[in-house]
Amino acid sequence: MIGHLTSKPGSSRANKTGSWRTEAKPKFLKKNCIACRMCVYICPEGIISGEGKNTFTCDLDYCKGCGSCAAICPKKDIEMIPEVEGQ
């Protein structure tokens, strides 16, 4: 019989999914942000953080470039910019 298996909590972080991006990555313009946190709510990776207006950033080590944050931002303060290799 196989015993129970355990894994370290949150160990998926070893898996840097940022390498999945092929086309675009989000750029937080930090101009018209009203800190509504919609980008934080909607990010499928849960990697957007910030405390007040114009402070929000995204961890590109994990961002898959889906563009949902830019799509949901009511102030259009997140832009998807072309992914350039090696940057």
């Binding site: 909590p9 949150g10 972080r13 070893a14 499928p44 990776e45 990697i47 953080s49």
Partner: protein, 289 residues
């Protein structure tokens, strides 16, 4: 990095609605939570051996029995006198809820365990390649209901799972959508504050299976609600509380964004039939503002 109990590095597709909802649910439930998870997309992408995205005790059951496992966890905690302050969540996709896991779910609801069941409804078996499930909507193009000269997509209507759950006489059954993230968290907190079995079904777009752009996940989810095709409501002790829609939109607005409904757009009769489904929902659940 943002504080969350569902860490990045999981292998969900870009724009995955289920990944959004799973994080919102566990973050609303908090760290004193134990999860039993049916087989499905969520199980596969969040626990790629030997890694785990979860920061709470998490058990993978079989495809059909997370409800039974969660029942056992809850009963064990009760026996040990440790249930107070600990949430037990059973969660599954739509196939694991409405088809394969329905018997175990029904048993759990019937026995009255203090467990919240969360169904992440992406409307087909996405993990294995977009096969039709009991929660796939009418006419949807899936790999087992392909469209062509002899078939017009899924021939059967979507199973009214929240009503089936509510019919067990449980204290709380509700639907929610990734288009309204705060509403998901509000309902999880509300449900966990109620003793007894609870059912929450969350509409989670699947860019791959529904064939829409990954950036459209929030918009597609919202449009499903705004057209009346995915009614948002709660049953509190059997009492229906709908989320009203201020301005109902025509179903085309939802359908046209998705490849799985592409064949409908050239067929006015089929569009009328889908509109009739939305109109039925509006009437049945009292969605008109």
């Amino acid at each position: 990095m943002a504080e969350t109990l569902f860490k990045p590095g999981h292998t969900a597709c870009a724009g995955c609605g289920q990944a959004i909802a799973a994080r919102l649910v566990i973050d609303a439930a908090g760290k004193n939570t134990i999860i039993a998870n049916n087989t499905g997309c969520l199980e596969v992408f969040s626990t790629k051996y030997p890694e785990s995205a979860w920061c709470v005790p998490w058990i993978h059951s079989l495809f059909e029995n997370c409800s039974a496992v969660a029942s056992g966890v809850e009963s064990g905690l009760k026996f040990l006198g440790k249930k107070e302050g600990v949430n037990v969540i059973a969660q599954a996709g739509d196939g694991g809820t409405a088809d394969i896991g329905l018997q175990a779910l029904s048993g759990m609801l019937e026995r009255g365990h203090d467990v919240l069941f969360v169904c992440y409804d992406n409307e087909a078996y996405m993990n294995t390649g977009i096969q039709r499930s009991g929660l796939t909507p009418t006419t949807s193009n899936t790999t087992t209901t392909p469209t062509g000269s002899a078939s017009f997509g899924n021939p059967r209507p979507k199973k009214p799972m929240p009503d089936i759950a509510a019919a067990h006489g449980i204290p709380y059954a509700a639907t929610a959508s990734v288009g309204y993230p705060q509403d998901i968290q509000k309902k999880v907190k509300k449900a966990l504050g109620i003793k007894g079995p609870k059912y929450l079904q969350i509409h989670v777009p699947c860019p791959l299976g529904w064939r829409h752009e990954s950036s459209l996940t929030p918009e597609v989810a919202k449009l499903a609600v705004e057209t009346g095709l995915y009614p948002i409501f709660e049953y509190e002790n059997g009492q229906l509380i709908p989320r009203k829609i201020a301005t109902l939109k025509p179903v085309e607005e939802y359908l046209k964004l998705q490849g799985r409904f592409k064949h409908l757009l050239k067929d006015p009769k089929a569009l009328k039939e889908i509109q009739a489904v939305a109109d039925y929902n509006v009437k049945k659940y009292g969605l008109s503002a």
